[in-house]
Amino acid sequence: MNAYWKKCLLCLLLLTPLAATANAGPPVIVIKASKFLFQPSKIELKKGQTVILEFTSSDRMHGFSLPDFAVRADIEPGKPMRVSFTPDKAGSFAFRCDIFCGDGHEEMAGEIIVRDEG
Protein backbone atom coordinates (compact mmCIF):
# COMPACT_ATOMS: atom_id res chain seq x y z
CA MET A 1 0.00 0.00 0.00
CA ASN A 2 1.54 3.32 -0.98
CA ALA A 3 1.78 6.42 1.20
CA TYR A 4 -1.27 8.09 -0.30
CA TRP A 5 -3.63 5.21 0.36
CA LYS A 6 -2.15 4.59 3.81
CA LYS A 7 -2.91 8.22 4.57
CA CYS A 8 -6.48 7.78 3.31
CA LEU A 9 -6.99 4.66 5.42
CA LEU A 10 -5.57 6.33 8.51
CA CYS A 11 -7.77 9.33 7.88
CA LEU A 12 -10.88 7.14 7.67
CA LEU A 13 -9.94 5.11 10.73
CA LEU A 14 -9.45 8.27 12.73
CA LEU A 15 -12.46 10.06 11.41
CA THR A 16 -15.18 7.41 11.37
CA PRO A 17 -15.60 7.34 15.20
CA LEU A 18 -15.96 11.10 15.17
CA ALA A 19 -18.95 10.83 12.88
CA ALA A 20 -21.02 9.14 15.56
CA THR A 21 -20.73 12.13 17.85
CA ALA A 22 -20.97 14.77 15.18
CA ASN A 23 -24.54 15.85 15.91
CA ALA A 24 -23.51 17.93 18.85
CA GLY A 25 -20.66 19.65 17.13
CA PRO A 26 -19.63 20.65 13.66
CA PRO A 27 -22.13 21.44 10.92
CA VAL A 28 -23.18 18.54 8.74
CA ILE A 29 -23.03 18.90 4.98
CA VAL A 30 -25.10 16.26 3.22
CA ILE A 31 -23.74 15.20 -0.17
CA LYS A 32 -25.99 12.99 -2.30
CA ALA A 33 -24.31 10.73 -4.82
CA SER A 34 -26.19 9.24 -7.75
CA LYS A 35 -25.40 8.35 -11.34
CA PHE A 36 -23.54 10.53 -12.31
CA LEU A 37 -23.36 13.52 -10.05
CA PHE A 38 -22.79 14.78 -6.56
CA GLN A 39 -25.37 17.15 -5.09
CA PRO A 40 -24.15 19.69 -4.23
CA SER A 41 -21.18 19.57 -6.55
CA LYS A 42 -19.74 22.83 -5.29
CA ILE A 43 -19.12 23.21 -1.56
CA GLU A 44 -17.75 26.29 0.15
CA LEU A 45 -15.91 25.91 3.46
CA LYS A 46 -13.85 28.05 5.76
CA LYS A 47 -10.24 27.21 6.39
CA GLY A 48 -9.79 25.66 9.82
CA GLN A 49 -13.48 25.01 10.41
CA THR A 50 -14.37 21.40 11.01
CA VAL A 51 -17.39 20.05 9.16
CA ILE A 52 -18.98 16.64 8.87
CA LEU A 53 -19.42 15.45 5.31
CA GLU A 54 -22.34 13.02 5.18
CA PHE A 55 -22.54 10.96 2.01
CA THR A 56 -25.56 9.06 0.77
CA SER A 57 -26.16 7.11 -2.42
CA SER A 58 -29.56 6.66 -4.00
CA ASP A 59 -28.64 4.03 -6.57
CA ARG A 60 -25.36 2.11 -6.39
CA MET A 61 -21.91 2.13 -4.83
CA HIS A 62 -20.01 5.34 -5.44
CA GLY A 63 -16.76 6.67 -4.06
CA PHE A 64 -15.66 10.06 -2.81
CA SER A 65 -12.05 11.03 -3.31
CA LEU A 66 -10.52 14.36 -2.32
CA PRO A 67 -6.82 13.72 -2.96
CA ASP A 68 -5.54 17.13 -1.84
CA PHE A 69 -6.63 16.28 1.71
CA ALA A 70 -6.21 12.49 1.45
CA VAL A 71 -9.90 12.05 2.19
CA ARG A 72 -11.86 9.21 0.61
CA ALA A 73 -14.98 7.23 1.39
CA ASP A 74 -17.05 4.40 -0.02
CA ILE A 75 -20.69 5.43 -0.42
CA GLU A 76 -23.05 2.48 -0.24
CA PRO A 77 -26.78 2.78 -0.95
CA GLY A 78 -28.75 2.84 2.30
CA LYS A 79 -25.68 3.39 4.45
CA PRO A 80 -24.94 7.07 5.08
CA MET A 81 -21.22 7.58 5.56
CA ARG A 82 -19.86 10.41 7.67
CA VAL A 83 -16.38 11.89 7.53
CA SER A 84 -15.07 14.73 9.68
CA PHE A 85 -13.04 17.17 7.67
CA THR A 86 -11.03 20.24 8.66
CA PRO A 87 -9.53 22.00 5.64
CA ASP A 88 -6.13 23.34 6.55
CA LYS A 89 -5.43 25.20 3.33
CA ALA A 90 -7.35 27.64 1.17
CA GLY A 91 -8.08 27.20 -2.51
CA SER A 92 -10.17 25.20 -4.91
CA PHE A 93 -9.94 21.42 -4.67
CA ALA A 94 -11.46 18.84 -6.95
CA PHE A 95 -13.23 15.74 -5.70
CA ARG A 96 -14.57 12.87 -7.75
CA CYS A 97 -16.16 9.46 -7.72
CA ASP A 98 -13.44 6.80 -7.64
CA ILE A 99 -15.65 3.70 -7.86
CA PHE A 100 -16.46 3.03 -11.52
CA CYS A 101 -20.21 3.49 -11.80
CA GLY A 102 -21.05 3.62 -15.50
CA ASP A 103 -21.07 5.72 -18.63
CA GLY A 104 -21.00 9.08 -16.85
CA HIS A 105 -18.46 8.06 -14.22
CA GLU A 106 -15.68 10.19 -15.69
CA GLU A 107 -17.81 13.31 -15.29
CA MET A 108 -18.92 12.57 -11.72
CA ALA A 109 -16.91 15.23 -9.94
CA GLY A 110 -17.17 18.39 -7.86
CA GLU A 111 -15.23 21.10 -6.15
CA ILE A 112 -14.57 22.22 -2.62
CA ILE A 113 -13.68 25.87 -2.27
CA VAL A 114 -11.91 26.71 0.97
CA ARG A 115 -11.85 30.38 1.88
CA ASP A 116 -9.20 31.85 4.11
CA GLU A 117 -11.21 34.17 6.32
CA GLY A 118 -8.59 34.53 9.03
Binding site: M1, Y4, D68, G102, D103
Partner: protein, 302 residues
Protein backbone atom coordinates in the same frame (compact mmCIF):
# COMPACT_ATOMS: atom_id res chain seq x y z
CA UNK B 1 27.74 -0.84 -33.81
CA UNK B 2 27.32 -3.69 -36.24
CA UNK B 3 24.36 -4.92 -34.30
CA UNK B 4 22.82 -1.46 -34.31
CA UNK B 5 23.12 -1.26 -38.08
CA UNK B 6 21.65 -4.72 -38.34
CA UNK B 7 18.71 -3.64 -36.26
CA UNK B 8 18.14 -0.55 -38.39
CA UNK B 9 18.18 -2.79 -41.41
CA UNK B 10 15.70 -5.02 -39.62
CA UNK B 11 13.46 -2.06 -38.91
CA UNK B 12 13.66 -0.96 -42.51
CA UNK B 13 12.77 -4.42 -43.70
CA UNK B 14 9.96 -4.53 -41.19
CA UNK B 15 8.61 -1.28 -42.53
CA UNK B 16 8.78 0.40 -39.15
CA UNK B 17 11.84 2.58 -39.60
CA UNK B 18 11.75 6.33 -38.96
CA UNK B 19 10.24 8.28 -36.12
CA UNK B 20 11.30 5.71 -33.60
CA UNK B 21 11.28 6.84 -29.99
CA UNK B 22 14.01 5.50 -27.77
CA UNK B 23 12.41 5.11 -24.43
CA UNK B 24 14.57 2.70 -22.51
CA UNK B 25 16.63 4.22 -19.76
CA UNK B 26 19.08 1.38 -20.08
CA UNK B 27 20.86 2.39 -23.25
CA UNK B 28 20.08 0.87 -26.60
CA UNK B 29 23.60 0.96 -27.96
CA UNK B 30 25.09 -0.78 -24.94
CA UNK B 31 22.76 -3.71 -25.24
CA UNK B 32 22.76 -3.65 -28.99
CA UNK B 33 26.43 -4.54 -28.86
CA UNK B 34 26.30 -7.19 -26.18
CA UNK B 35 25.53 -10.05 -28.51
CA UNK B 36 22.95 -11.54 -26.19
CA UNK B 37 19.94 -11.04 -28.37
CA UNK B 38 20.92 -12.70 -31.61
CA UNK B 39 18.00 -14.53 -33.08
CA UNK B 40 15.58 -13.42 -30.41
CA UNK B 41 14.57 -9.93 -31.52
CA UNK B 42 10.90 -9.58 -32.24
CA UNK B 43 8.16 -7.01 -32.00
CA UNK B 44 4.60 -6.92 -30.87
CA UNK B 45 1.87 -4.33 -31.33
CA UNK B 46 -0.03 -2.60 -28.53
CA UNK B 47 -3.48 -1.20 -29.25
CA UNK B 48 -5.51 0.37 -26.47
CA UNK B 49 -8.77 1.97 -25.47
CA UNK B 50 -10.77 1.21 -28.59
CA UNK B 51 -14.08 1.83 -26.74
CA UNK B 52 -16.16 -0.04 -29.29
CA UNK B 53 -19.76 1.23 -28.99
CA UNK B 54 -18.81 4.79 -28.07
CA UNK B 55 -20.89 7.52 -29.67
CA UNK B 56 -19.90 11.19 -29.75
CA UNK B 57 -19.75 13.09 -33.01
CA UNK B 58 -17.69 15.93 -31.55
CA UNK B 59 -15.09 13.55 -30.15
CA UNK B 60 -14.86 11.00 -32.94
CA UNK B 61 -17.31 11.12 -35.86
CA UNK B 62 -15.76 7.88 -37.13
CA UNK B 63 -16.23 5.97 -33.88
CA UNK B 64 -17.81 3.11 -35.83
CA UNK B 65 -14.88 2.91 -38.25
CA UNK B 66 -11.70 3.74 -36.35
CA UNK B 67 -11.12 0.23 -35.00
CA UNK B 68 -11.40 -1.26 -38.47
CA UNK B 69 -8.86 1.30 -39.73
CA UNK B 70 -6.47 0.34 -36.94
CA UNK B 71 -6.85 -3.34 -37.82
CA UNK B 72 -6.14 -2.50 -41.47
CA UNK B 73 -3.08 -0.45 -40.45
CA UNK B 74 -1.67 -3.37 -38.45
CA UNK B 75 -2.40 -5.75 -41.32
CA UNK B 76 -0.54 -3.37 -43.64
CA UNK B 77 2.71 -3.61 -41.69
CA UNK B 78 5.30 -5.13 -44.01
CA UNK B 79 6.50 -7.61 -41.45
CA UNK B 80 3.78 -8.85 -39.14
CA UNK B 81 4.32 -8.72 -35.38
CA UNK B 82 4.67 -11.86 -33.30
CA UNK B 83 1.48 -10.92 -31.49
CA UNK B 84 -0.93 -8.09 -30.78
CA UNK B 85 -2.13 -6.96 -27.38
CA UNK B 86 -5.16 -4.81 -26.54
CA UNK B 87 -4.62 -3.13 -23.19
CA UNK B 88 -8.19 -2.58 -22.08
CA UNK B 89 -11.38 -0.65 -22.71
CA UNK B 90 -12.01 -2.79 -25.74
CA UNK B 91 -15.65 -1.74 -25.49
CA UNK B 92 -17.37 1.36 -24.16
CA UNK B 93 -19.31 0.76 -20.99
CA UNK B 94 -23.05 0.26 -20.88
CA UNK B 95 -25.45 -0.57 -18.05
CA UNK B 96 -27.28 -2.94 -20.38
CA UNK B 97 -25.74 -6.41 -19.94
CA UNK B 98 -27.04 -7.60 -23.32
CA UNK B 99 -25.67 -4.58 -25.10
CA UNK B 100 -22.31 -5.11 -23.36
CA UNK B 101 -22.14 -8.63 -24.81
CA UNK B 102 -23.26 -7.41 -28.21
CA UNK B 103 -20.41 -4.86 -28.24
CA UNK B 104 -17.91 -7.51 -27.16
CA UNK B 105 -19.07 -9.84 -29.91
CA UNK B 106 -18.75 -7.07 -32.52
CA UNK B 107 -15.32 -6.10 -31.24
CA UNK B 108 -14.16 -9.68 -31.37
CA UNK B 109 -15.45 -10.11 -34.92
CA UNK B 110 -13.62 -6.98 -36.10
CA UNK B 111 -10.27 -7.90 -34.53
CA UNK B 112 -10.57 -11.43 -35.90
CA UNK B 113 -9.66 -9.77 -39.21
CA UNK B 114 -6.12 -9.22 -37.93
CA UNK B 115 -3.63 -11.25 -39.93
CA UNK B 116 -1.82 -12.04 -36.71
CA UNK B 117 -3.74 -14.75 -34.95
CA UNK B 118 -1.98 -14.53 -31.61
CA UNK B 119 -3.97 -11.76 -29.92
CA UNK B 120 -3.88 -11.01 -26.20
CA UNK B 121 -6.54 -9.08 -24.33
CA UNK B 122 -6.50 -7.12 -21.08
CA UNK B 123 -9.71 -5.78 -19.52
CA UNK B 124 -10.43 -2.09 -18.94
CA UNK B 125 -12.96 -0.69 -16.47
CA UNK B 126 -15.40 -0.07 -19.34
CA UNK B 127 -15.32 -3.80 -20.12
CA UNK B 128 -15.25 -5.32 -16.69
CA UNK B 129 -16.09 -3.02 -13.78
CA UNK B 130 -19.88 -3.17 -13.85
CA UNK B 131 -20.18 -6.96 -13.82
CA UNK B 132 -16.83 -7.82 -12.22
CA UNK B 133 -15.56 -9.16 -15.52
CA UNK B 134 -18.25 -11.78 -16.10
CA UNK B 135 -19.01 -10.93 -19.75
CA UNK B 136 -15.36 -10.14 -20.47
CA UNK B 137 -14.27 -13.61 -19.34
CA UNK B 138 -16.93 -15.24 -21.51
CA UNK B 139 -15.51 -13.51 -24.60
CA UNK B 140 -11.83 -12.98 -23.92
CA UNK B 141 -10.75 -15.40 -21.21
CA UNK B 142 -8.90 -14.87 -17.97
CA UNK B 143 -8.72 -11.45 -16.37
CA UNK B 144 -5.09 -11.97 -15.38
CA UNK B 145 -2.51 -14.44 -16.66
CA UNK B 146 1.09 -14.83 -17.69
CA UNK B 147 2.91 -16.34 -20.66
CA UNK B 148 6.42 -16.64 -22.02
CA UNK B 149 7.57 -15.49 -25.43
CA UNK B 150 11.13 -15.71 -26.75
CA UNK B 151 12.79 -15.35 -23.39
CA UNK B 152 10.46 -12.69 -21.97
CA UNK B 153 7.95 -13.38 -19.22
CA UNK B 154 4.74 -11.44 -19.89
CA UNK B 155 2.29 -10.75 -17.06
CA UNK B 156 -1.22 -9.42 -17.68
CA UNK B 157 -2.67 -7.74 -14.60
CA UNK B 158 -6.31 -6.83 -14.00
CA UNK B 159 -6.80 -3.56 -12.10
CA UNK B 160 -10.35 -2.94 -13.28
CA UNK B 161 -12.75 -5.81 -12.57
CA UNK B 162 -12.92 -4.48 -9.02
CA UNK B 163 -14.70 -1.15 -9.61
CA UNK B 164 -12.56 0.36 -6.87
CA UNK B 165 -9.60 0.01 -9.26
CA UNK B 166 -7.50 -2.37 -7.27
CA UNK B 167 -5.69 -5.60 -8.00
CA UNK B 168 -6.86 -7.23 -4.79
CA UNK B 169 -5.03 -9.53 -2.43
CA UNK B 170 -5.85 -12.72 -4.36
CA UNK B 171 -4.25 -11.39 -7.54
CA UNK B 172 -1.27 -10.01 -5.63
CA UNK B 173 -0.79 -13.45 -4.08
CA UNK B 174 -0.99 -14.99 -7.56
CA UNK B 175 1.59 -12.50 -8.82
CA UNK B 176 3.92 -13.35 -5.97
CA UNK B 177 3.72 -17.06 -6.84
CA UNK B 178 4.12 -16.36 -10.57
CA UNK B 179 7.28 -14.36 -9.89
CA UNK B 180 8.75 -16.92 -7.51
CA UNK B 181 9.61 -19.22 -10.39
CA UNK B 182 11.71 -16.57 -12.16
CA UNK B 183 15.38 -15.71 -11.92
CA UNK B 184 16.10 -12.12 -10.87
CA UNK B 185 17.41 -11.26 -14.33
CA UNK B 186 14.42 -12.65 -16.26
CA UNK B 187 13.07 -9.97 -18.60
CA UNK B 188 9.50 -9.18 -17.52
CA UNK B 189 6.86 -7.22 -19.41
CA UNK B 190 3.75 -6.25 -17.47
CA UNK B 191 0.60 -5.48 -19.46
CA UNK B 192 -2.23 -3.74 -17.67
CA UNK B 193 -4.90 -1.08 -18.15
CA UNK B 194 -4.59 1.57 -15.46
CA UNK B 195 -1.27 3.02 -14.32
CA UNK B 196 0.12 0.96 -11.46
CA UNK B 197 1.67 4.09 -9.96
CA UNK B 198 -0.10 7.25 -8.79
CA UNK B 199 0.05 9.19 -12.03
CA UNK B 200 -2.58 11.78 -11.11
CA UNK B 201 -4.94 10.96 -8.27
CA UNK B 202 -7.13 14.02 -8.91
CA UNK B 203 -8.23 12.38 -12.15
CA UNK B 204 -8.25 8.94 -10.58
CA UNK B 205 -5.30 7.88 -12.73
CA UNK B 206 -4.02 5.39 -10.18
CA UNK B 207 -4.37 1.80 -9.03
CA UNK B 208 -5.22 1.78 -5.36
CA UNK B 209 -2.89 -1.08 -4.49
CA UNK B 210 -0.65 -0.79 -7.54
CA UNK B 211 2.39 -0.01 -5.42
CA UNK B 212 2.18 -3.51 -3.93
CA UNK B 213 2.62 -4.98 -7.41
CA UNK B 214 5.50 -2.59 -8.11
CA UNK B 215 7.12 -3.62 -4.82
CA UNK B 216 6.99 -7.28 -5.89
CA UNK B 217 8.44 -6.43 -9.30
CA UNK B 218 11.25 -4.30 -7.89
CA UNK B 219 13.20 -7.44 -7.03
CA UNK B 220 13.67 -8.06 -10.76
CA UNK B 221 16.31 -6.23 -12.77
CA UNK B 222 14.52 -5.96 -16.05
CA UNK B 223 10.86 -5.00 -15.85
CA UNK B 224 8.80 -2.74 -18.08
CA UNK B 225 5.09 -1.90 -17.90
CA UNK B 226 2.87 -1.11 -20.89
CA UNK B 227 -0.59 0.20 -20.10
CA UNK B 228 -3.49 2.29 -21.48
CA UNK B 229 -6.38 4.12 -19.79
CA UNK B 230 -5.07 7.68 -20.11
CA UNK B 231 -5.53 7.92 -23.92
CA UNK B 232 -2.11 9.41 -24.63
CA UNK B 233 1.52 8.51 -24.87
CA UNK B 234 3.17 8.90 -21.47
CA UNK B 235 6.46 7.70 -20.01
CA UNK B 236 7.35 7.46 -16.35
CA UNK B 237 9.87 5.57 -14.25
CA UNK B 238 9.40 4.22 -10.72
CA UNK B 239 12.73 3.07 -9.37
CA UNK B 240 14.22 1.15 -12.29
CA UNK B 241 10.83 0.22 -13.83
CA UNK B 242 9.64 2.22 -16.86
CA UNK B 243 5.89 2.61 -17.40
CA UNK B 244 4.68 3.47 -20.93
CA UNK B 245 1.07 4.52 -21.61
CA UNK B 246 -0.35 4.07 -25.10
CA UNK B 247 -2.58 6.27 -27.19
CA UNK B 248 -6.25 5.53 -27.55
CA UNK B 249 -8.10 4.53 -30.68
CA UNK B 250 -11.21 6.59 -29.95
CA UNK B 251 -10.31 10.04 -28.56
CA UNK B 252 -7.30 11.60 -26.84
CA UNK B 253 -7.35 12.97 -23.30
CA UNK B 254 -5.37 15.97 -22.04
CA UNK B 255 -2.04 15.64 -20.28
CA UNK B 256 -2.45 14.95 -16.55
CA UNK B 257 -3.34 18.16 -14.71
CA UNK B 258 -2.92 20.32 -17.81
CA UNK B 259 -6.54 21.49 -17.71
CA UNK B 260 -9.07 21.73 -14.86
CA UNK B 261 -11.26 18.88 -16.10
CA UNK B 262 -10.43 15.50 -17.55
CA UNK B 263 -12.50 15.83 -20.71
CA UNK B 264 -11.78 14.38 -24.16
CA UNK B 265 -9.93 16.55 -26.65
CA UNK B 266 -12.46 17.40 -29.39
CA UNK B 267 -12.11 16.01 -32.88
CA UNK B 268 -10.17 18.32 -35.19
CA UNK B 269 -11.58 18.03 -38.71
CA UNK B 270 -8.40 19.67 -40.04
CA UNK B 271 -6.40 16.83 -38.48
CA UNK B 272 -8.64 13.77 -38.38
CA UNK B 273 -7.50 10.97 -36.04
CA UNK B 274 -5.02 13.38 -34.47
CA UNK B 275 -3.79 12.02 -31.15
CA UNK B 276 -4.98 8.49 -31.90
CA UNK B 277 -2.72 5.59 -32.76
CA UNK B 278 -1.08 2.37 -31.77
CA UNK B 279 2.49 1.35 -31.22
CA UNK B 280 5.03 -1.18 -32.26
CA UNK B 281 7.20 -2.45 -29.44
CA UNK B 282 10.40 -4.02 -30.59
CA UNK B 283 11.74 -6.30 -27.90
CA UNK B 284 15.32 -7.23 -27.35
CA UNK B 285 15.34 -9.70 -24.49
CA UNK B 286 17.92 -8.70 -21.96
CA UNK B 287 16.94 -5.23 -21.21
CA UNK B 288 15.69 -3.23 -24.11
CA UNK B 289 12.50 -2.17 -25.81
CA UNK B 290 12.08 0.22 -28.65
CA UNK B 291 8.73 1.92 -29.12
CA UNK B 292 7.44 3.40 -32.33
CA UNK B 293 4.18 5.29 -32.24
CA UNK B 294 2.07 4.65 -35.33
CA UNK B 295 -0.73 6.71 -36.88
CA UNK B 296 -3.94 5.02 -37.93
CA UNK B 297 -3.83 6.55 -41.38
CA UNK B 298 -0.58 6.09 -43.26
CA UNK B 299 1.22 9.39 -43.68
CA UNK B 300 -0.56 11.13 -40.79
CA UNK B 301 1.83 13.02 -38.55
CA UNK B 302 1.85 12.14 -34.86
Amino acid sequence: MTHLIDRRKFLHLAGIGGGVAFVSGLGFDVFAADGLTDGLDFYFVQLSDTHWGFKGEDKNPDAAGTLQKAVAAVNALDKQPDFVVFTGDLTHTTDDAQERRRRMAEFKAIVSELKVKQVKFIPGEHDASLDKGEAYQAFFGDLHYSFNHKGIHFIALDNVSDPAAQLGQAQLDWLKVDLQALAANTPIVVLTHRPLFDLYAKWDWTTRDGQQAIDLLMAFENVVVFYGHIHQEHHHVTGHIPHHAAKSLIFPLPAPGSVPKRVPIPWDSAKPYNGLGFRNIEAYPWKNYRIEEKAIIKGETL
